[in-house]
């Protein structure tokens, strides 16, 4: 049995890869299609392999291939915090054969960066939101707080003494921390890391007191309480941490931070292509296997119409723009 499985995957791997190779070639030569999709679709993942986006993107590509009836090839185009990969899609032909998956950085970058190679609202449009995932508030084990209101009280009693970690300037963990400071008036110092995972050793030794972390980043450390999770940032409780209150529940009404992911296409796609793509995505997002795969990393599938997606995108853009401007984050 086992060796059959081995054999299968050994045979399967080259075949899959061969298809990917052949398909990149075909995708680059194609003529205008009569009926979409007549050739493979390229899904750009604008980050390095291995992260949540990579995993979610590849899972979506796999299921979308089935519902679209055409191969969907995930391709990493990392660089410049997602800008490089998004830019290549923004510049491509709006024919539905080149799409990109992005996280909140897509709405944060235009406010944060001094210059952008593309205009988000003019050159890109939402095909569908695809997932949603709260962050989890974690605190150093030595910190005598068990929930959000205790954290706020402790921070107010020790102004300027607390540090919070992030995955870098303008990342969601950073802006969530800023939003927290702005909502509560707490004074805490932001300490950026290259990724949130790197901050955990410092959090375990109480050099860092708290962080708004991705669930996937926090899981290795919260399962045995080497750092203490105290709340999640969705409006509903997280399935990964069902016992934890949401920040909203614990007193900060309306405080919500969502590490959402959405699929975007270059603006000006024909309406029938858009509806076909949106429909196929919506169907793929209902697949129980996809939902199970998402749940492993604390992500919930969530499909939207292009219009709902656009409205959501605008609200997220405004929300983070205000946080960045109020926090004077650009001036640092």
């Amino acid at each position: 049995m086992k060796s059959a499985k081995v054999l299968r995957s050994l045979v399967f791997a080259p075949v899959m890869l061969a298809m990917a190779g052949a398909v990149t070639f075909a995708a680059s030569t194609g003529a205008a299609a009569q009926t979409y999709p007549s050739k493979p679709v390229r899904l750009v993942l604008p980050y390095s392999p291995g992260g949540i986006i990579d995993y979610v993107g590849r899972t979506v590509a796999q299921h979308l291939s089935t519902t679209l009836g055409q191969q969907v090839i995930a391709e990493n185009r990392p660089g410049a915090g997602g800008i490089t990969g998004t830019d290549t899609v923004a510049r491509s032909t709006p024919d539905g054969y080149t799409i990109v998956i992005m996280d909140p950085a897509i709405v944060i970058n235009p406010t944060l960066q001094p210059s952008m190679p593309y205009d988000l609202f003019k050159q890109l449009e939402v095909v569908s939101m695809i997932s949603s995932s709260p962050e989890v508030v974690v605190v150093a084990p030595e910190l005598p707080v068990k929930n959000m209101s205790e954290l706020i009280a402790y921070a107010k009693a020790n102004p300027g003494k607390l540090n919070f970690a992030s995955a870098g300037i303008g990342t969601t963990p950073h802006l969530a921390g800023e939003l927290f400071k702005q909502r509560t008036g707490v004074d805490a110092t932001h300490v950026p890391y290259k990724s949130i995972g790197q901050s955990y050793p410092d959090m375990m030794s109480n050099k860092i007191q708290f962080a708004f972390s991705s669930i996937a980043g926090a899981l290795p450390f919260t399962t045995d309480n080497r750092v203490r999770p105290i709340a999640t940032t969705g409006l509903k409780r997280s399935e990964v941490y069902p016992d934890l209150q949401t920040v909203d529940e614990s007193g900060l009404k309306g405080f919500e931070v969502d590490l959402w992911l959405g699929i975007f296409a270059p603006s000006g796609m024909p309406a029938d292509v858009m509806s076909k793509l949106n429909g196929a995505l919506g169907e793929a997002l209902k697949n129980p296997e996809l939902i199970k795969a998402f749940a492993k990393v604390g992500v919930t599938a969530r499909g939207t119409s292009p219009q709902e997606g656009a409205a959501f995108l605008k609200s997220e853009f405004d929300k983070w723009k205000k946080v960045i401007e109020d926090g004077k984050i650009k001036d640092n």
Binding site: A18, G21, T24, N332
Partner: protein
């Protein structure tokens, strides 16, 4: 003024040039205040140290004797740099086969004993080998043929 140690003199000058570029570029970055070191602090400090070291080398080269610089032959280095730039210009649109065969063929002329026929054969062999290894064996996302 006599340059007694040309190697030291020119390397000193090279370091001074980089230090100047570093200082110039870093002058636009904030130096930060107090505990919050700005993005400009480290580059400026390093450029200053580099300038100091460059100056030491230049001054010393005027006092102490040292080796001369071997004559620069322009052909090899120029051909190689042009090769690489051509590859960069060709690869995104023209694909691996055309770009690589061009580059290896032109590169061969960086040497003095190049035989055109041999170079052409070599470039064919190398291209076939590379396509085999990088595209078919390792499945890297490289386009093989031109795409428009």
């Amino acid at each position: 003024m006599i340059i007694r140690a040309p190697k030291d003199f020119w390397s000193g000058l090279m370091f001074l040039t980089f230090a100047a570029i570093g200082l110039l570029a870093a002058s636009g970055y904030s130096m930060g205040r107090g505990g919050r070191m700005g993005p400009g602090y480290f580059p400026v400090a390093l450029s200053a140290v580099l300038a100091l070291l460059g100056a030491i080398l230049v001054l010393r080269s005027l006092v102490l004797d040292g080796e001369g610089v071997e004559r620069i032959q322009f052909r090899p280095i120029a051909v190689l740099v042009v090769c690489v730039l051509i590859f960069g210009a060709m690869i995104p649109k023209l694909g691996l086969v055309i770009s690589l065969s061009c580059v290896t063929f032109i590169a061969a002329f960086a040497g003095r004993e190049t035989r055109p026929l041999e170079a052409a054969m070599l470039s064919v062999v190398l291209t076939v080998l590379s396509v085999g290894i990088f595209v078919y064996a390792l499945r890297l996302p490289l386009s093989v043929w031109p795409s428009f």
